[in-house]
């Protein structure tokens, strides 16, 4: 703030001093006129340059700082609540959380579990086909039973389960995708891979 008067003032002064020094030098070479910059004029120009440089550097720094926070869509949290267990009808596949969180909530034979909606062949998102009672991948045609076990197409292993539990505070079903349970490793017997409905 205090700099601004200093910043504006030197300009006319500098012009005046230039004009003054230019007049007598007119008959002589113009180059000589440029050389005769007064001490005061030099410092006022230096101040302008310095302020300009600081502003430019500050601008760059701000832009750089903004660059650190890009316009991204953050991934939904890996752990989320899907509502009370009573929401899930028996022997049904719930597709409400596929688009937002990428899991199918399956209620099958008295067990409630979360199947991660990623094909274990090459990672496409499979669809649930109610009429045929199976998951089917649109990319190379892998098919899975309702419980996630693969039975057709090229995929070598079943779908993966996410950890599932009941939140002790409000009794809602809590799904945690950070923890996965693989059938071929025998992890589907793990009590945190399903809920008994």
């Amino acid at each position: 703030m205090t700099e601004t008067p200093e910043e504006t003032k030197p300009e006319p002064a500098a012009q005046a001093s230039e004009a003054k020094s230019a007049q007598p030098a007119k008959p002589a070479k113009p180059a000589a006129a440029d050389a005769e910059v007064s001490r005061r004029g030099f410092f006022s120009w230096a101040a302008v340059a310095w302020v300009g440089f600081t502003a430019a550097a500050g601008g760059c720094l701000t832009a750089w700082g903004r660059f650190m926070f890009p316009n991204v869509l953050y991934e939904p949290p890996t752990s989320f609540k899907v509502g009370p267990p009573s929401d899930f009808a028996p022997d049904a596949v719930d597709e409400r959380f596929v688009e937002s969180n990428g899991v199918f909530i399956v209620n099958d034979q008295g067990q409630l579990y979360a199947l991660i909606a990623i094909c274990t062949h090459l990672g496409c998102p499979p669809n649930w086909l109610e009429a045929q009672n199976k998951f089917k991948c649109p990319c190379h045609g892998s098919g899975y039973y309702r419980n996630g076990i693969n039975f057709e197409g090229p995929t070598p292993r079943p779908l993966e389960r996410a950890a599932i539990s009941i939140d002790p505070d409000d009794g809602q079903v809590l799904v945690d995708k950070a923890q996965k349970f693989l059938w071929e490793r025998g992890q589907w017997d793990d009590p945190s891979s399903f809920l008994t409905a």
Binding site: V98, E99, S100, N101, G102, A117, H121, L122, C124, P125, N127, L129, A131, Q132, K136, C137, P138, C139, H140, G141, G143, F151, E152, G153, P154, P156, R157, E184
Partner: protein, 359 residues
């Protein structure tokens, strides 16, 4: 009309259409009449009549007229033309060589022409025509853009770019590691290796079929059948859920196609021997491993005396012969696995999920 359509629909199911195309391919390579001007015209007219008539069918029209798929129709014509042209020249040259006359290329290279204007001028004309074509194409057929991407929703069917549809078809029959990395890598390496493996000096600088029959038939089998035909199949005949659809069939998302498939180990241990699967992977997969060893180690030796490749071992020497054989047998895994899948529902020969190793 409907009867014809349903026959064509039935015949275009992979087990029949692929068998049919193998037979036709064999006939084509054997035939001489096809590679004459008359033969070429007849093929062109047949294909065009087929497409022309089929366009009246709404289901066919929807698929073929998609902006994505128009280039594939063009590809069919272009591959057909160049295949015919090369074979036409080759057969003519063969006749000339037999009669003791100089080949086309020999007599042509006697008289020389100038780069400018002869070559550059025709290049320029081609460039202009191509540019006009591209501009018209981009105006008439809109780019097939879709809604913004969402990682948890995929279009159904999800198709790779057209030039990768052959690879995508391969992924239906193989483990992703094999079909996505090993086999494509071998295709590239194998193509690069051809000049080092193929020691037949005949046919350098001129078209000929007689002097390198085996080489040409093998290459065309890989290119026309395994690469191009699979692209065509992937484009026109693969519908929702990657199910198979005949050309006049409606793409019904709910079409049921039972495709339950099993591993070789299950077929042998459970179905044939009637005992359960052994616990240890090595015992479990022993038959698949034995088959693989037989296929890659013993079969090349057995094939040395085969009529089709007789004399190749002597000409090429053991190393070249084996490398060439290995590449050839790897290529043949594709049709072999396709047939086993269609008729025996076989999934993998070797399925060692413990090491993510599946064949």
């Amino acid at each position: 009309m409907e009867a014809i359509k349903s026959i064509i629909n039935f015949l275009s199911y992979p087990e029949w259409s692929f068998t049919l195309s193998l037979i036709l391919f064999g006939l084509a390579m054997w035939s001489k009449a096809l590679w004459t001007k008359a033969g070429g015209w007849i093929m062109l007219i047949l294909i065009t009549v087929f497409f022309g008539l089929s366009l009246f069918d709404p289901n066919f029209f929807v698929v073929v007229a998609k902006p994505d798929n128009v280039p594939i129709v063009m590809m069919i014509y272009i591959i057909g033309f160049f295949w015919w042209y090369a074979m036409y020249k080759a057969h003519q040259n063969d006749r000339r060589i037999e009669a003791g006359e100089p080949t086309f290329e020999k007599s042509e290279s006697e008289d020389r022409i100038f780069t400018w204007p002869d070559l550059v001028f025709s290049e320029f004309i081609c460039m202009v025509l191509l540019t006009v074509g591209m501009v018209l194409w981009s105006i008439l057929l809109k780019a097939p853009l879709e809604e913004p991407a969402n990682t948890s929703v995929a279009p159904n069917p999800s198709k790779a770019p057209w030039y990768f549809l052959g690879l995508q078809e391969m992924l239906v029959y193989f483990d992703p590691w094999m079909a996505g990395v090993v086999l494509p890598g071998l295709i590239i390496v194998g193509l690069m290796a051809i000049p080092y493996i193929d020691t037949n000096k005949k046919g350098n600088g001129y078209y000929t079929f007689k002097e390198r029959k085996t080489e040409i038939v093998l290459f065309l089998f890989g290119f026309v059948i395994l690469w191009s035909e699979l692209i065509v199949i992937g484009t026109f005949l693969r519908g929702p859920n990657w199910n198979f659809f005949g050309p006049y069939e409606y793409w019904d998302i709910n079409k049921v196609e039972p495709l339950v498939n099993v591993d070789l180990s299950e077929i042998i241990w459970i179905k044939i021997l009637g005992v359960g699967l052994p616990g240890h992977w090595f015992v479990r997969e022993i038959f698949g491993l034995l088959f693989t060893a037989f296929y890659f180690l013993v079969l090349p030796v057995l094939l040395i005396k085969n009529k089709f490749i007789d004399g190749f071992y002597q000409k090429m020497g053991p190393t070249r012969y084996y490398v060439g054989m290995f590449l050839f047998l790897t290529m043949m895994l594709m049709p072999i696995k396709m047939y086993l899948r269609w008729f025996l529902n076989l999934k993998y020969f070797v399925h060692i999920q413990e090491f993510f190793l599946n064949l």
